[in-house]
Amino acid sequence: MMPDLGKYAGDVFAAYGITFVLLGGLIALSLIRAARIKKRLQAAEERRKTNG
């Protein structure tokens, strides 16, 4: 199944590894910030309703 990358295995894995780490980090940070801001906005909207 795994292709024989020969002497270039390190280069290919490094390129793919960096890509997955950077994209994974970007997706995770985007989702975390989205959830955090949504929660804070909901709390603020609640306060606004309660306080008029």
């Binding site: 989702l31 910030r33 306060r47």
Partner: protein, 244 residues
Amino acid sequence: MASLWEWANPRKFMTWTDKALPVISIFAAVLFLAGLVWGFFFTPDDYRQGATVKIFYIHVPSAMIAINAWLMMLVASLIWLIRRHHVSVLAAKAAAPVGMVMTLIALASGAIWGKPMWGTYWEWDPRLTSFLILFLFYVGYLALWEAIEDPDTAADLTSVLCLVGSVFAVLSRYAVNFWNQGLHQGASLSLDKAENVADVFWYPALVALAGFVLLFLALVILRTRTEIRARRLHAIEMRERVQG
């Protein structure tokens, strides 16, 4: 038929993207993984480049997104400057980190690919240098957003910076044609059959590219939704502060 401006109204944008985002995300994940798995596991080595050709499936799509993300930001910034449309400038702000990461991936994967093929990680070649400058413009654009407290002033100044940076986005794409020198070759993907890569590399690359495009779209929508909420939150908090 509803006009484009109506769809970009913040309330309407939140409604339709709430339904569209999960669908786009699923298609993005499927195409992204399908393209990379196809390219990595089921394509032959190149007769000259050997197994390093597998870097092609991440390097080319990320580079194309890096350039086109900036051009998308340019259009969104122009809409802000001309029409003062808040969602457009928030979409530009949302796209910047995605474009920056894509530029970094293109630079890193290119350097890793360059070492075995060119014998060096880096060369001050027109394509590579203009890409590095594009990356610095992304960093500067995001830093400017963070540095200015008033959102409308930040939107104005970052939009102007985006106009200036567009020169380097275009240069990154056409540097090889303009200067006709350096290590980097011309476009690998082309609609001209004679210039394009062989079909065995082209089809998986096309699927991977579609995956990258949809991933970019999904992330920009997600982040734009967050920016719209953050702006609303900022407005409520400011009102609370004024009211004591």
